[in-house]
C-alpha cells in the first residue's frame, strides 16, 4: 500500500454493529439490546473518547472488536483488517476495565509472557519491558508478585502489557477507573504521549472531564445507540457562552445582594467565583465595583460536556444518575 492510501485507511471502521444479549432460562428468556446499528470511523493518529453511562454498550463494543463476543450483525475493521482476523493484533494494544493480571506472577514475568505471545525476541522483550517500566514508574515493582500491587499499580501494569508490542493503536476501557488524581494524571500524560507519537487511541470512559481534556473527537453512546460523534468544539459550539468572574473583597451579604443573572457562585475564602451569561456580564461588573469589590479576572467558559448531555437526557425525559464529574 502506498503512503497516500495508508493515510486514507481508517484505523477503525465499524459498520452496522448490532448485539443483543439473551439470558435467562427456558421459561423466562429475556433479551437486552446492547448495541444497535453502530457506525463509526476513526482516522489514524486520533485520540477518540467513547463516552456513555454504565451499561450503554461501551464495553460490549470493545469486546466485539477484540473478538471476545460475536456480533449479531455488522462488521468492524481494525487497521484495515477484518476484526475477526489475527493480523492486526500484533499492532494493537488492549486494556480492559479492572484488569486482572495473574497474581502468582511478578510484573517482569508477566510482561515477558505477553512479549512471548507477541512473538518478540528475548532481547526485544527485555528492552521493551525496561522501557515501559521506566515510563510508567514501575521499575521498583518489577519483581514484586502482582498480587501485591495496589489498584493504581495494577492499572499501570495493565498499560504496560497493552504497550508491550509498541502498538499503532491502543484500546483502553475505562483506563482511569479507580485511580487517585495522581494516577489519573499519569494515565492522561501517557495518552498524550502516545498521541504525540502519532498513535491512535480509542478509550472509553464515563468520566467526562477526562474526555474533555484529551480527545480530538468524542462519540456519545446511550443504550446501545450512538447519539453524536464529532469534534468537541463542534458539539459545544451550540452552547451559550458564559463567563466566569473572579471577585474579591465582598461580604457574603453583599454577594447575596448582587443582581440576578448569576448562574453559579462559589465562595473561596475571601474571593468568589461567579458564573454569568454573556448578556449580564456588564451589569455584574458594574455592581461589584459599586459596592467596593474588585474584579480580579473574567474568563469565558464554554458549557461543559456534562451540561450538554444532561440537557440532552432531560430533553428525552430521562434522569441519568451515572454521569460523574
Amino acid at each position: 500500500m502506498d503512503v497516500a492510501s495508508t493515510l486514507l485507511v481508517p484505523a477503525l471502521s465499524i459498520r452496522g454493529l448490532t448485539k443483543t444479549y439473551r439470558y435467562g432460562h427456558f421459561f423466562s428468556r429475556r433479551s437486552r439490546q446492547a448495541l444497535h446499528d453502530l457506525n463509526l470511523e476513526l482516522p489514524a493518529g486520533e485520540v477518540f473518547g467513547y463516552l456513555g453511562p454504565n451499561g450503554s454498550g461501551k464495553t460490549t463494543t470493545l469486546k466485539i472488536l477484540m473478538g471476545l463476543v460475536c456480533p449479531d450483525q455488522g462488521e468492524a475493521r481494525i487497521l484495515g483488517l477484518p476484526s475477526t482476523e489475527f493480523g492486526w493484533r500484533r499492532k494493537v494494544g488492549f486494556l480492559p476495565e479492572n484488569p486482572y493480571l495473574y497474581d502468582y506472577l511478578t510484573l517482569a514475568e508477566y510482561l515477558d509472557y505477553v512479549g512471548l505471545l507477541f512473538g518478540l525476541s528475548s532481547a526485544l522483550r527485555r528492552e521493551r519491558a525496561q522501557h515501559l517500566l521506566r515510563e510508567l514508574d514501575l521499575v521498583r515493582s518489577a519483581h514484586l508478585p502482582l498480587r501485591r500491587f495496589s489498584k493504581g499499580m495494577t492499572q499501570r501494569a495493565g498499560l504496560a502489557q497493552a504497550l508491550m508490542n509498541d502498538p499503532e493503536m491502543v484500546f483502553l476501557d475505562e483506563p482511569m477507573s479507580g485511580l487517585d488524581p495522581l494516577g489519573r494524571r499519569r494515565v492522561r500524560d501517557l495518552i498524550l504521549g502516545l498521541k504525540a507519537k502519532g498513535k491512535t487511541v480509542f478509550f472509553s470512559t464515563h468520566i467526562l472531564g477526562d474526555a474533555e481534556s484529551l480527545c480530538d473527537r468524542v462519540g456519545i453512546l446511550r443504550s446501545g445507540q450512538l447519539l453524536a460523534v464529532g469534534r468537541l468544539d463542534e458539539i459545544l459550539r451550540m452552547d451559550i457562552p458564559r463567563y466566569e468572574v473572579l471577585v474579591s473583597g465582598l461580604e457574603t451579604t453583599q454577594l447575596d445582594a448582587l443582581p440576578c443573572g448569576i448562574d453559579n457562585r462559589r465562595d473561596i475564602g475571601e474571593r468568589a467565583r461567579l458564573q454569568v451569561r454573556e448578556g449580564g456580564l456588564g451589569a455584574l461588573v458594574t455592581a461589584v465595583e459599586r459596592v467596593g469589590g474588585r474584579v480580579l479576572s473574567v474568563q469565558p467558559v464554554s458549557e461543559s460536556l456534562e451540561d450538554y448531555f444532561l440537557r440532552q437526557l432531560t430533553a428525552a425525559g430521562e434522569e441519568d444518575p451515572e454521569w460523574a464529574e
Binding site: 469486546k63 463476543v69 489475527f86 493484533r89 488492549f94 480492559p96 484488569p99 493480571l101 505471545l117 512473538g119
Partner: protein, 257 residues
C-alpha cells in the same frame, strides 16, 4: 512456527501457575506420606510388604493425581473466564485454540512432574525396605499418567461449558463412571432386566479408565507387552482427541461477557 511457540508459552505459564498453587504441594506430600505409611502397614498384614508398598504407592499416585487433574483442570479455564484475565490474552495474537491447547499441555507437564516425584518416592520407599524393583513398575505409572491426561481433557471440556463448580461435579461423575466401566458392562449379571443396548452403549461411550489400570498386573509381575501398551495408548489418545476437539469447538463458540 509461531503457533507452537505460543502454545508452549501458555503451557509454560500454566505450569508455573500450578506449581505456585500451594495446594499442589500438599497433595504430593500426602501421596508420598501414604507410600511411606505402607511401611507401617507391613507388620500388620500377613502379606508381602513389597506388594503392599507398591499397591499403596500406585493407588495413591492415581488417587491424588486424579484429584489434581480434576480440580485444577476444571479451574484452568473457568478461573480465567471468571476473573477475566482471559480477555487480556485473547486480544493478543493468540487464538482460542492455542490458548486451550497450551493450558492442556501445561497441566500435562505439571502432572508428569508430580507423577515423576511420586514414582521417585515409591522407588525410594521400596529401596528402604530392601526390595529393588525393576522398571516393570513404570508400565503401571505410564498407565496412570495416560488416565490422568484423559481426566484433564475431560475437566477442560466441562470447564469450557459451564462454571467451575458444575464442571468439577460433572468431571468427577464421568471419571467415576469410567472407573466402573467394567461393572457397567457386566451390569446384566446383577440386573438382568437392564437393556443390553444401554449398558453396551454406556460402556463404549464412557472413558474406560479401567483400561489404564495396569497396577495389578505389574504388582504380580505379569509382563505387560509393548503392543498392549500401544493399544492402550491409541485408545487413550483417540478418546483425548475426541474430548479436546469438542472442547475447542465449545470454546470457540463462547461469548465472554
Amino acid at each position: 512456527m509461531g503457533g507452537m511457540r505460543r502454545i508452549a508459552a501458555v503451557a509454560a505459564n500454566t505450569f508455573r501457575e500450578t506449581v505456585r498453587e500451594r495446594v499442589l504441594y500438599n497433595l504430593v506430600l500426602f501421596a508420598i506420606l501414604m507410600t511411606l505409611s505402607g511401611l507401617l502397614l507391613n507388620p500388620l498384614s500377613l502379606r508381602q510388604d513389597e506388594k503392599i508398598v507398591k499397591d499403596i504407592g500406585l493407588a495413591s499416585m492415581e488417587l491424588f493425581g486424579t484429584m489434581i487433574a480434576v480440580f485444577i483442570g476444571v479451574g484452568l479455564v473457568s478461573k480465567e473466564i471468571e476473573r477475566r484475565s482471559l480477555h487480556l490474552l485473547l486480544a493478543k495474537p493468540l487464538s482460542r485454540d492455542e490458548f486451550l491447547l497450551g493450558k492442556f499441555a501445561g497441566l500435562g507437564l505439571t502432572l508428569s512432574a508430580n507423577v515423576a516425584a511420586m514414582t521417585a518416592g515409591l522407588y525410594a520407599t521400596l529401596w528402604m525396605i530392601g526390595r529393588h524393583s525393576g522398571p516393570g513398575l513404570l508400565a503401571a505409572v505410564y498407565g496412570i499418567l495416560l488416565g490422568l491426561m484423559l481426566a484433564v481433557s475431560i475437566a477442560l471440556l466441562f470447564s469450557t461449558l459451564t462454571s467451575s463448580a458444575l464442571a468439577a461435579v460433572c468431571t468427577v461423575c464421568v471419571v467415576i463412571g469410567g472407573r466402573f466401566a467394567d461393572v457397567i458392562r457386566n451390569m446384566r449379571e446383577v440386573a438382568p432386566g437392564a437393556p443390553g443396548w444401554l449398558t453396551t452403549g454406556l460402556y463404549y461411550a464412557l472413558p474406560n479408565f479401567h483400561t489404564f489400570d495396569l497396577k495389578d498386573r505389574v504388582v504380580h509381575g505379569d509382563p505387560v507387552g509393548f503392543h498392549q501398551l500401544g493399544w492402550i495408548t491409541l485408545y487413550g489418545a483417540c478418546y483425548m482427541g475426541v474430548v479436546l476437539l469438542a472442547a475447542l469447538a465449545s470454546f470457540r463458540r463462547r461469548d465472554f461477557q
